[in-house]
Point group: D2
């Protein structure tokens, strides 16, 4: 940590800052420049997390050197984490191919979609039972009934399942049905929810918030890791931008950026990132080419009847085409698409 002092900081102020730093059990290293004086802080930077050094009179700026996340950092673990979702590996050369409808709507529809995405090569089935909707008047999901349908469908097709949990009061319920929790973008900084799923040992798909930096995303992962759950898969799903032609802005560079900062796997979700079926295939391939550990795609067999986010879903045949292209690209990149142990 480096403390930059103000232009006309007094000797008394400088002395006060040094005392505060040393009072935390750290060493201060004074360096007087032509225009500015700076103080290097030597020792365990974590000690200074709660100390508002910037509020000390005479301080202009505090520059942290270490990332504020520890367990999620590449410094803590240089080799990539491989997360196992009921036998399906994500990370370290293994691709998680997640597909399914936005919301579970009925057993029949779920069955038809699962059959299609399984045939196309997906290895994890998705479907929402609790839906975070911007409007209180929009469809809110089937609840536990939806969880049962998802579980049952996944079992019949030999696919692990992932579904969103929005409320800390329902973590226990969702736990009983799912193989992987999804934390949605709107809940990336719902810290109570992160703590709850952190206390389980079930894999968590943590989606990046719409205005979260990659560092913010890793801080949220740190919440889960610090509770003891190391099975976190990050997901880039688009951020806010001034260009509203597509729903969000797909930040493909987040994939290699995470690689420089963390050992956690990261997948991409072009369905939410763009919200447009005509952009999804290109972005899915771009994500894989950038090194993503998997792709999350929404698929629906009748988008115009979908109760949630129909316009952004691919048709089963569009998904099959895309899955073909993704498979060939994965081969070129030397990546594997693993299947669950008991899968036929």
């Amino acid at each position: 940590m480096i403390i930059v002092l103000k232009l006309h900081a007094t000797e008394q102020q400088i002395e006060h800052v040094i005392q505060r730093v040393e009072g935390m059990g750290l060493r201060a290293h004074l360096s007087r420049g032509t225009y500015r004086t700076i103080i290097g802080v030597i020792g365990d930077e974590a000690k200074t997390q709660v100390a508002p050094l910037e509020a000390i009179p005479g301080v202009a700026q505090v520059v942290p050197i270490l990332p504020p996340f520890k367990l999620a950092s590449i410094e803590a673990q240089p080799e990539p984490t491989v997360v196992e979702v009921a036998g399906v590996k994500i990370g370290g050369g293994h691709l998680g191919m997640i597909a399914g409808p936005c919301a579970v709507e009925s057993a029949e529809r779920m069955d038809a979609i699962a059959a299609a995405v399984k045939a196309a090569g997906a290895n994890i089935l998705r479907g929402g039972a609790f839906k975070p909707r911007t409007s209180p008047y929009a469809y809110q999901g089937m609840g536990e009934e939806g969880l049962k349908i998802l579980r049952d469908t996944g079992d019949r097709y030999g696919m692990p399942v992932v579904t969103e949990v929005m409320d800390p009061r329902r973590v226990e319920l969702v736990y009983r049905y799912t193989d992987m929790f999804q934390i949605g973008a709107r809940n990336m900084q719902n810290f109570n929810l992160l703590t709850e799923v952190g206390q389980t040992r079930k894999p968590v798909l943590l989606k990046r918030g719409m205005s979260a930096t990659v560092k913010d995303l890793l801080m949220s992962a740190e919440y889960i890791l610090s509770e003891g759950n190391a099975n976190v898969v990050l997901c880039e799903r688009g951020i806010k931008s001034f260009d509203n032609t597509a729903r969000n802005l797909f930040d493909v560079a987040a994939v290699p950026l995470v690689r420089t900062m963390s050992h956690l796997p990261i997948i991409v979700d072009p369905s939410h990132a763009t919200g447009r079926p005509d952009l999804i295939p290109a972005c899915a391939l771009a994500g894989l080419a950038a090194g993503a550990d998997g792709v999350h795609i929404e698929v629906h067999n009748c988008p115009e009847e979908a109760l949630s986010d129909g316009p952004q879903a691919l048709l089963p045949e569009q998904y099959a085409d895309l899955a073909d292209q993704m498979r060939r690209l994965a081969e070129l990149l030397g990546k594997a698409i693993s299947q669950p142990a008991g899968a036929v």
Copy 2:
């Protein structure tokens, strides 16, 4: 609602769209242009909220005409809502002057700060007991002990109190101590939490999310209103921007923009919007001049010892100066700063 068809939409597609619209009990009004065909949809637009019209083959774009929020809209209620927080009015010419520390840290500190902001003219006391912190290693608040201190301090100084609730499981607990719930920016789209506070009748200070549009903010207010709680005060507290010199970007135009769309009061929070004491006073005055119904300011008597967000707090004497300027501006604007009924 207007449905714009694709350039080469077939007659069959057009017919299918019309059938879908009429199937919802609405009337379709076809209009063939030189290049494009459009269909005006006549009837109650609310019926179409769940119907993914954009997913119908041949449809290029769906343009809604009515805002998706109803109860919060200016159409629903043209006269401004006045929210009463234990006797203090906010809205319709009454200013809510909310001040206090970021977090409740001790009874002594809370007492000293309350004495100072009360003397300066604040009419509502704030203080956090549960803190949403980006880092799991940062100070998380005193919990119920903090709520007790806040309640007790408010009572002694005759000030209503406001404090944040982050977890739907704690709404009942916080309810017992506070006069007003605060929903923080990170929870603006925590829909389960909005539903819980919506089921009480206590005032809610709803902060705008960092990447929420004004429309999104009003949709979240609609969640609370639709549960029957009409006592919602909106709060502009800065949004994300490419210019990171200040912590966030203070969107002062949100104040007059809300006026054109909603009857709900809106206050500004320049402390979180800028995160810099050297910018807070100017932004507080700008907010009032733009027509805000109040100002939320963080005040701390020793920012360098603050356990949370010290660097952005004003000192009591800085707040007193600013409160003076705000009072003179309020007079020029013809606004009143009401005091609770029993206040001395």
Copy 3:
């Protein structure tokens, strides 16, 4: 300047960095922390502007301490600059009240608008003769004929005039007619144009680019100042944001932020910042309350016939109302609205 080395920087790399720094005539100050080694660079930071220190192997990050602009900085000149536009002062307590149509359209229309804004209290007349339009098919301005009309109208009403110059080849032509150059937002980083107006001694109204940080704006001002022209007035006119309800996002905090960094005056332009007449008055007052040195407003007597940007113009009577409110606010703030020497 502080150079932060990578986690596993070798002794050889450290040595190489030190040699490079000393080779520039600067002193290097090594400081070894628990995790990282940093090098403080002492001496004239300007020498290092062209040296790509970040590209040296082993370097993780370079943190500049001094702002990259010199002449525009508050360090270079602590007292505020007052720019005189043909007798009208802007800065240091004097407000520039600029008003007029987006484009000069005819002598009659210009006359009617000038009469109205003069009567309302504006002290500088604006009008565009060369218009930067997003579409090649949109109205591009009257050219020299428009400059003549503007000059003539200003003279008849005793008002200095300001008009945009877009092309370095026309600086000479525009110079002959105007009292102040306007550099539009799209040309804020048209460095050849900045250099040309910098070589004159005529005041320049420099508008902030839509994606420029405040620092970028000051760097562009530095281009003009470094050519010898010290008469620069900055203008906040809205930046890009994810919320497209208004045309741009009015960054009112830029006003106090500039005060902490520069001695140059800064005015606000709520017409372009919002593009909506229903938001302009609130934002104009917000800008003044935040400390702006003036307000730039577009006024048109028949917006629906305007050849450019009609929908964002105020009507003359709306401007008169707003000017009244601005005058009363200016009095409260102790600011003066100066008139040109020869004005009646």
Copy 4:
């Protein structure tokens, strides 16, 4: 075009709007809904470009149906444009692999870099002679001397060359030396410059502005096309975002988005988009996978001595590695990398 009227628009206002529309030679098609009245405008929408319909009393919103660009639109030309740069094809399955240093610094350095990128498989050589720099104190380029070196180097290696032109006064000079003009991001809306290069018939590499939407980019292309120069290649090079970890945000979805709107080729520039060598290869591959018609990469043989943008350049050996991966990906995608006619 659809005109949506205000909630309480009077009959007189509606009548006035219809008269205005019909006065432009268009037909108005009235449709009264439950809450709102809308007017469909039928006829040539281009006629209405200059008419500020939104400013007419009673009008709430104007919704254009056709894109405001014509010549650049996919409607105008469904098949992809192939631009030829002195024999090298870009578009329609042909990849432009542009590489070279940020700035031309000396004949020796240019020669070494050209040899390396040619050997690696690049087919167009880049190098800046006029540099747009944020700081007036930064290196501004070699000028005509740089153009000569670039031309000469390109000729010796049988590579067409591309270089930036910033000033309309220098279009003629640059024309004499280059095979392709580059319009930089900061000049994307320098309309006088666009007009000048539009009057030549030389290919233009048009870079997207940092806060330009894809529609804005196409509007700027339209400026060039409307002057008669059809040889425009678009370039995505990163836009502004709230996450400043990388220099800009690489908007890879712009590639498929342009495909839905325009016939013009689009390449990607991950060097400027990220500014970080550790992110460039992943983003280059992502761009190709998304369907880009080429990749623009900055290469320097000694980044720490580069006079401009050294930290973002790849080393020749890094470029060779990347070029290998790009070639294999191009094969998978069925794309060709063409060589100039006379090339060995």
